[in-house]
Symmetry: C2
Subunit: 344 residues, 2 copies
DNA sequence: CTGAAAGCGCTTACAG
DNA sequence: CTGAAAGCGCTTACAG
C-alpha cells in the first residue's frame, strides 16, 4: 500500500526522481538510484497501475478475444499469448465470446472501449463494421490470427493451401476415394476456415482430375465426437467407402481413427487419415497432419502487436488491412499410407 | 475518446451529475438523467477505467491464477469464470504459472501487486508464505478452488472421499483386483490432489479388507497419453492383471480405455474403468466417473468472491482459512460392470 | 541530474 | 437534486 510519496520520503528525494529511477526512462545519479531502489524494496513498493494509466494513457494490458477457451487450439493460443505478453510486461485480459450475442455486445461496447486495454488480439474472430469502427475511434490497434479480417492486420496461414496440401498428400500416395470431414458452412467459428478448407480440398481433387463427391463431404463441429460420428457414417456406408479421409482439424482426425478402429478397420491399411493443427496429442495418435505451429504463430503475433503499440506515432493509421502469411508444414506420421488396392 | 467533461457540456450539467446519472449510485432528476444518457450515447462515452480506478481504488478486475491453460479442467474453469465475472461487470486477467519459477515470481511480486486486480481467484495453486503475506498486505482477497490452501478461503471437493467413492463403486460391483493410475507424489499440479486421491483409494480398499498392492499404483501426468502408457503396463503384465482401474482423472481414463482396446481387451467385460472429473468427452467415451461439476463450482466460487469484495468493510480480515466443501456425484456409465469371474 | 507543479479523468464528501 | 472542488497516485514537460 506504500505510495510513491513514502518512497520519496524514505529515499530523501522527490517523487519525480523516484519515478525516473524506477522506470529507467531518464538518467538519475547512481547515488539517487541506489537510495530509491533500497527504499522501494524496503517498503515493497509497486506503482499503482491506475495512476500509471491516468498519467500515461497506457494500461499495459492487451485484450484477447476468443470464441472458445475450452478447445485445444484456443487454449494453446491463450497460453502462449499470456506468456509472451508477460515477458513484455503486459497483462492479458480475456474476452470470451462463447456466451452469445449479449456477452459479445457487452464486450465490444463496454469493456473493450473502457480504456482498459492498449490493443486487441483476436483469434478467429470476425468483426462487425460497427465494432471495428469503435475500436478505431478509440485508437485500439488490432491484430488477428486464425483467418484474415477486413480492416485489420492479421497473421494467418493460407487455409486453402493447407487443405490442398493435405489432400495432395493423399493423392500422391495413390488415393482416389478421398472424403472430407469439415465444418458447417455458417459455423460458430464465425469464420471462413471451414469454407476455405473445403475449397482447398475441392481444388486439389479437381487438379487431379477427380470430381468431388458431394456425399463425401461431411460437416462436423471440429471436436473428437463430431469427427467420430461423421467417420462412422462415411466408413459404414454399404454403398461405397473412401480409402482416405481428410479432416479439417486434428481432433476430428482422432475421432475418425477411433471410429475406424471401432468398425474393425485398420488405420492406415484400410483407411488413411490426415488432419490439420498438429494438436498436442497428434503425435500420440500417430496422426499425419498439417501444422501451423500455433504457439510460435501466437508468439510472433504478440511480438508484432506490441511493436505496433509501442512504435505508434500520432497520425499513423491505427488499423490497416494487411495479412502476413504464416507458413504451414506437412507432418507425415503413421495414419497415412498407400491404399490397399495399389499395394502388392 | 470523449471524456466526462464533454458529456457534461453537451448535457448541460456538471460532471458530478454525469457521473451520478451513469453510475446510478445517487438519485438524479429524470430530466437530467435523460439528458445525460442522450449525450453519453451520442458521444459514445465510456468512462476511463484508469480514472475510475484512481478515484475509487477499485479496478473491477479479478486476477485468475492457473498452473495450465491448455488442459481441459483449467480451460473449463477459465471459461466459466470469465463468463460469470463479465456478468458482474468484472474483467478477468489471466496469470498462468506454467512458465516456471521466473514467471511465477514476476506474477506474484509485480503484476498481482500493482493494484491491477481487486481480488485473486486461484485454481489448484498452493501459495508460498511470502506470496500470501504480500497479497494480504495489499488487501487482496483470495478464493481458491481445486484443493484447500492454508490461510485463504477455498471451495473444494473432498478428494479423499471422491477417490474412495470411485473405488467403492468398483468394490460394490465385486472387483477385488483394483489398480489405480494417479499422479506423481510431487507433481507439477503443485497440489495435494494426487496424494489425497491415492489415500481415498487406499482407505476404501482397506475398509474392504484388501491390502493395496504397491505394484498396482501407477503414477502418470493426468493426460490421455500418460493414462494410456500406464494402463498398457498394468494390463500387459503377464504376472497378473487387475479387473478394474481407477484413474485420478478422466483424461487418464480415456487413455486407459484406448490401451485396453489396443490390447484386445473389452471394456467393461475384461476391465472396468472409472475416472474423476466428468470431462466434456466422458459421455462420448461412456466413462463412469466422479463429477465435481467444475463449471457450477467455478460460477459459485466467482459469486462468492465478488460478494466478499463488495461486502468488504474496513477492519474485516482480508483472508481467512476456510474451506467450503463442494459436493461430488457418482456418474455410472458404460465402462464399469461386474468382473467376469462373478458373472454367470 | 533534480524538484515543484501541472495534469491525466474520474468520484464523492461537502454545501447549498 | 445539483455543482464546485478536492483528491486519487502517478508521469513528465519545464526550469534550474
Amino acid at each position: 500500500m506504500a505510495g510513491i510519496e513514502e518512497v520519496a520520503k524514505l529515499a530523501g528525494v522527490s517523487t519525480a526522481t523516484v519515478s525516473r529511477a524506477l522506470s529507467g526512462k531518464a538518467h538519475v545519479s547512481a547515488k539517487a538510484q541506489d537510495k530509491v531502489e533500497r527504499a522501494a524494496a524496503e517498503l515493497g513498493y509497486v506503482a499503482s497501475s491506475s495512476a500509471y494509466g491516468m498519467a500515461t494513457g497506457k494500461t499495459r494490458t492487451i485484450g484477447v478475444v476468443v470464441p472458445f477457451v475450452d478447445r485445444w487450439f484456443f487454449s494453446a493460443v491463450l497460453e502462449s499469448a499470456e506468456t509472451k505478453m508477460r515477458q513484455h510486461g503486459y497483462d492479458l485480459t480475456l474476452y470470451n465470446i462463447s456466451g452469445g450475442e449479449d456477452q459479445r455486445k457487452r464486450i465490444f461496447d463496454e469493456f473493450l472501449l473502457r480504456k482498459r486495454v492498449d490493443a486487441v488480439f483476436t483469434c478467429a474472430i470476425k468483426f462487425g463494421d460497427a465494432e471495428l469502427k469503435n475500436l478505431n475511434r478509440t485508437k485500439k490497434p488490432i491484430l488477428g490470427i486464425g483467418g484474415t479480417v477486413s480492416g485489420a492486420r492479421t497473421i494467418s496461414i493460407d487455409d486453402v493451401a493447407a487443405a490442398a496440401l493435405a489432400t495432395d498428400h493423399l493423392l500422391a500416395l495413390g488415393h482416389k476415394k478421398i472424403a472430407m470431414i469439415g465444418g458447417h458452412p455458417a459455423s460458430e467459428m464465425e469464420f471462413q476456415q471451414p469454407n476455405m478448407r473445403r475449397r482447398g480440398y475441392d481444388q486439389a481433387l479437381e487438379r487431379a482430375g477427380i470430381e468431388p463427391n458431394e456425399a463425401w463431404y461431411l460437416p462436423a463441429d471440429f471436436t473428437i465426437k463430431g469427427g467420430y460420428h461423421a467417420a462412422k457414417q462415411l466408413l459404414g456406408d454399404p454403398r461405397g467407402v473412401p480409402t482416405a479421409i481428410f479432416c479439417a482439424s486434428d481432433e476430428m482426425g482422432f475421432g475418425t481413427i477411433m471410429a475406424a478402429k471401432d468398425l474393425g478397420l485398420r488405420v492406415p491399411e484400410d483407411v488413411s487419415v490426415i488432419g490439420i493443427d498438429n494438436h498436442d496429442m497428434s503425435e500420440f495418435f500417430g496422426l499425419s497432419t498439417i501444422s501451423q505451429n500455433v504457439r510460435e504463430l501466437t508468439e510472433h503475433a504478440v511480438d508484432r502487436l506490441i511493436k505496433i503499440i509501442e512504435g505508434f506515432k500520432d497520425g499513423d493509421p491505427i488499423n490497416i488491412e494487411e495479412n502476413e502469411e504464416w507458413p504451414i508444414e506437412l507432418i507425415v506420421r503413421a495414419t497415412t499410407a498407400r491404399p490397399a488396392s495399389s499395394r502388392r
